[in-house]
């Protein structure tokens, strides 16, 4: 078993009711839930694999494919929608090389949409690696993505 996984398991007892926190920790570590770790979780908790899969697929928070190094969420909530979210989404997608939501092949970007970030006064808004950017225009989106790409490069 991978070391990262055993480290996570060390913090739990392997009880059924720990499944969700375990899934969360595993996803934090891998950015998604790899098949093999799902198998290991099943063994660790002594719960059938198909049950673990059932639980994980029930929650929107769990992913089964790797996400990109940069995670962009475009808000599609009512306020953002009214203030131009569709255009923002299009602009973000075009700038990271995607057609729509998804992950770029080089795993550089994952683009998702959400129903409200909770800062409607700043509509239209997006989060870029968890950081909120509001009052956006197409122009600002372009600059933001460029600036962030520059940052990553120099790190």
């Amino acid at each position: 078993m991978e070391e990262a996984l055993s480290e996570i398991f060390l913090q739990f007892e392997g009880k059924r009711e720990e499944i969700i926190p375990i899934l969360q920790r595993v996803q934090e570590n891998y950015t998604y839930l790899p098949e093999d770790s799902m198998r290991q979780i099943a063994r660790f908790t002594k719960v059938p694999e198909s049950d673990i899969y059932g639980v994980a697929t029930f929650y929107a928070q769990f992913r089964f494919t790797p996400t990109g190094r940069n995670h962009i969420c475009v808000c599609r909530g009512t306020a953002c929608h009214v203030r131009g979210a569709p255009a923002i989404l299009e602009e973000v997608a075009a700038n990271v090389g995607l057609e729509d939501e998804g992950t770029t092949e080089d795993l550089e970007y994952t683009l998702e949409t959400v129903a409200c970030i909770g800062c409607c006064a700043l509509a239209p808004a997006i989060t870029y690696n968890e950081e909120v950017h509001g009052n956006l225009t197409k122009n600002k989106v372009r600059k933001l993505i460029k600036a962030e790409a520059g940052k990553n490069g120099s790190e």
Binding site: P48, E49, S50, D51, I52, Y53, T57, F58
Partner: protein, 233 residues
Amino acid sequence: MSEKYIQLTIDGTPISVPAGTTILDAAKEADVEIPVLCYFAHTTANGLCRLCVVEVEGARMLQAACVVAAQDGAVVHTRSPKVERARRTLLEMLASTVDISESPELQALVAEYECFPERFEGGKKRQPVVIDDNPVYLRDYSQCVMCWRCVQVCADDAQFTYALNFSGRGFDTQIATFFDKPLTETTCVFCGNCIGVCPTGALKAKREYLIEQGVAPEQVLELTRLKGRKNRT
């Protein structure tokens, strides 16, 4: 040790049953038939489909007869207008989202309750593709009513193989294997219990399917032979 008995009335018939008996079983004693869909005598009742609802005087909501225990002194109506309306709506919603063309029992209920599924016309249908991933049976989940029986017999109610379970949620809920793997790559032992308990045409023996398709008998045998497979560790 003497069992405690309770008295109740079902559709006007007074009846006495041991405490803890479900309304469904009590009704059977009174010769009253209550329609069921998810309930199956040999699997754990979960009260999923609500087709068995009945009206209990004084209760705020309709009660699922297959899981609710009869109470002493209860007055139960199994065919009141409220009950009929609830069942009719349920059946209409089922018939408009699920393909019931190979489920004669469901069709009979749709007719009996004078359902009009067309009133939900244009609603989204569940239309996943047929899964043909093993030599024993096909899974056509566009016919699945989510009764959960197959999952239960695969798990603690019979086989203890745990190959099948629910995946997803809401409209996208489906019976699935671990990571949607072909059954041949799961713990499935092809016992056939799931096919046996499925109340619809969702699970179908492959031989039956091939014969329906007009495939010659010798070929059917060839196509459905279970090749020796390695057990996963």
